[in-house]
């Protein structure tokens, strides 16, 4: 970027497939497929995810002995269809992760912008909070909050939001400070633009690209956190399925009915793997030097 860089906002373009390799393309396809499956779950799920059937309990996936036709991936200990539960679980997991990542983006982005623009004790306070958040293992904070406030979906999505805010705050603050020193911001300020105007017109458009990258990278971490908490019984509560809680609840039936845990567990890995590769791809394209975590 030259000293007289164009201050006009970079438009958010649809990502072209630059730097694509087979693995990245597969990851993209998997991610699109999973998101589509999650959105369309009510339409494509063959059964009610909560519907129990005592006569077809613990049936294996189609192709194995004793399989029950129509239950493609088998049934669980209450005769619920594993495929339908996995689809709805994926839906809930993705919704929670997306909501959590958005909350983190809002909190962290605002904090970072304020820290970068205000300086002084405000910045010290915010960066102190960031350091604190980095210092304390977040799983512990999550355990504490969920034990105190109960495991409702609202609390859960808030916990997931708090999980990653400090990353956004650091990135936004660093970028804001860098941009604030650029001639186009200086000249805007010299021309009498207010702080809010500069933030909206000159800073935010330039922050979009690093934030999109961080959002994608954070998403897979949040999926892992949500699954882990639900697996431990502190996240999504029964009877509603999330991928993590399906694994946690199915654990007791592992010796005789491994498909109950294998299906959601594989979905979790597939999802986080695809999202992570996409995040990495975006990072390469955006060429922002984010710190390796």
């Amino acid at each position: 970027m030259t000293a007289y860089a164009d201050p006009a906002p970079r438009r958010l373009r649809l990502p072209r497939l630059e730097g694509a390799d087979p693995i990245r393309l597969i990851a993209l396809a998997v991610a699109v497929l999973l998101v589509a499956a999650a959105i369309l779950a009510p339409l494509v799920a063959p059964y009610d995810p909560l519907g129990q059937s005592l006569i077809s309990r613990l049936r294996p996936p189609v192709g194995f002995e004793r399989a029950s036709p129509g239950h493609w991936l088998g049934t669980d200990e209450l005769g619920r269809d594993v495929l339908s539960r996995a689809l709805y679980g994926l839906r809930l997991t993705l919704a929670l992760a997306g909501g959590g990542a958005l909350i983190g983006l809002l909190i962290g982005g605002t904090m970072g912008l304020v820290a970068g623009l205000r300086r002084g004790w405000v910045e010290d306070l915010i960066m102190g909070l960031v350091d604190l958040q980095i210092a304390v293992p977040f799983t512990l904070i999550a355990l504490l909050i969920l034990a105190l406030a109960g495991s409702s979906l609202e609390v859960l999505v808030l916990v997931l939001g708090i999980a990653g805010w400090e990353q956004y705050a650091r990135i936004v603050r660093a970028e804001t400070r860098r941009l604030a020193a650029q001639p186009f911001v200086e000249s805007a300020r010299a021309a009498g633009a207010s702080g809010g105007y500069i933030a909206r017109r000159h800073l935010l458009p330039n922050l979009v690209s690093p934030l999109v990258v961080q959002f994608t990278l954070a998403l897979s971490n949040i999926v892992i956190l949500e699954s882990t908490l639900s697996f431990l019984g502190l996240g999504v509560q029964p009877p509603h399925p999330s991928l993590g809680s399906m694994v946690g609840l199915g654990r007791d039936y592992m010796p005789s009915a491994p498909w109950i845990v294998a299906v959601p567990a594989l979905l979790i890995v597939l999802l986080t793997f695809a999202v992570q590769i996409l995040g990495d791809w975006l990072r390469d394209r955006a060429d922002v030097r984010l710190r390796e975590r």
């Binding site: 693995i23 604190l132 304390v136 512990l140 355990l143 975590r293």
Partner: protein
């Protein structure tokens, strides 16, 4: 130099105080912690008695100061569930957790540093890509998924390894691997990046130019220079990741450590145990981080000079 260390120590003390304060008030502000715990079966009198027994009838500032004083005197309160000092409940859990942690860190270092070096040296061949892909998979698989698949294969299908307990060396295998998965992935990627940085520098070209063997260039000159950064990451990242991992892994394998204790305390809402556990583990992580920072600034001459 002394100034740098003093500043680090002051910052650590402040962090620790913030952790204690936040934990304490979060616990108290969410209502009387006894309410959920006491349940229905008590008379009003018994209830008052219990609340007084745990010191919950005092004003919140007095409780806070009493709690702080207690922390300094080694009195961390009483467990609601076990009705005995929290310190005792936690103390007997420390050694199993430490054992598992040490095993996991040892495995992580033994696997990921060689892998990272290999990925850096052969970064343009399929070997480097394969290692990197493996690191991605390791990073994508949460500890509990790794544990579940291992249990399915090695315990239920092959019948080789025990699932629950911690009494024999065999019991260590799966928990150690489950804990190490993410750590290995993170450290491999980091070692690779650190090596790539180092291998591009002038002194490496000099070493090659004076005719050293490639192995000597990579290991004696490259790895030694990269090891400072790598070691700092072991301190900074591993402490945090391991604390999170132990919560999950100990729960799955019924490992009698702090992680399992904390999850159980969260589920039955045994606040004194949960509160002290969070504080204790955070303390451990923060102290390890500070020690790493200090060691790092001692080891790196540039940082040593910057302090003066």
């Amino acid at each position: 130099m002394t100034l740098v260390i003093l500043r680090l120590l002051a910052k650590t003390a402040l962090t620790l105080l913030a952790i204690v304060t936040a934990t304490f008030f979060a616990t108290r502000l969410s209502g009387s912690p006894m309410e959920t715990f006491l349940g229905e079966g008590l008379t009003a009198e018994q209830r008052t008695q219990m609340i007084a027994y745990f010191g919950l009838d005092l004003p919140i500032w007095d409780q806070y100061l009493a709690y702080l004083r207690g922390l300094f005197e080694g009195d961390f309160g009483l467990s609601f569930v076990e009705r005995r000092p929290v310190a005792d409940v936690v103390a007997e859990r420390i050694w199993p957790s430490v054992q598992l942690l040490l095993a996991a860190v040892a495995l992580t270092v033994a696997v990921s540093i060689p892998l990272g070096v290999i990925a850096a040296v052969w970064r343009k061949s399929w070997v480097g890509s394969a290692v990197l892909a493996l690191a991605f998979v390791g990073y994508a698989a949460p500890a509990f998924v790794l544990a579940i698949f291992m249990i399915l294969v090695f315990s239920y299908t092959l019948n080789w390894l025990p699932v629950v307990g911690s009494s024999t060396p065999l019991h260590f295998i799966m928990p150690t691997i489950a804990m190490s998965g993410v750590l290995i992935a993170a450290l491999t990627r980091f070692t690779r990046n650190a090596m790539l940085d180092v291998l591009g520098q002038d002194f490496i070209r000099t070493a090659r130019a004076k005719g050293l063997s490639e192995a000597a260039v990579v290991l004696r000159h490259g790895l030694r220079a990269a090891s400072v950064t790598v070691l700092s990451v072991i301190g900074l990242q591993v402490a945090g990741l391991a604390a999170a991992g132990s919560v999950v892994v100990e729960t799955i394998f019924s490992w009698p450590g702090i992680g399992q204790l904390l999850v159980n305390a969260a589920i039955v809402r045994d606040y004194p145990v949960l509160q002290f556990g969070v504080i204790a583990v955070s303390f451990a992580v923060v102290v390890v981080n500070t020690l790493t920072d200090i060691a790092y600034s001692l080891a790196d001459p540039r940082l040593r000079l910057a302090g003066n």
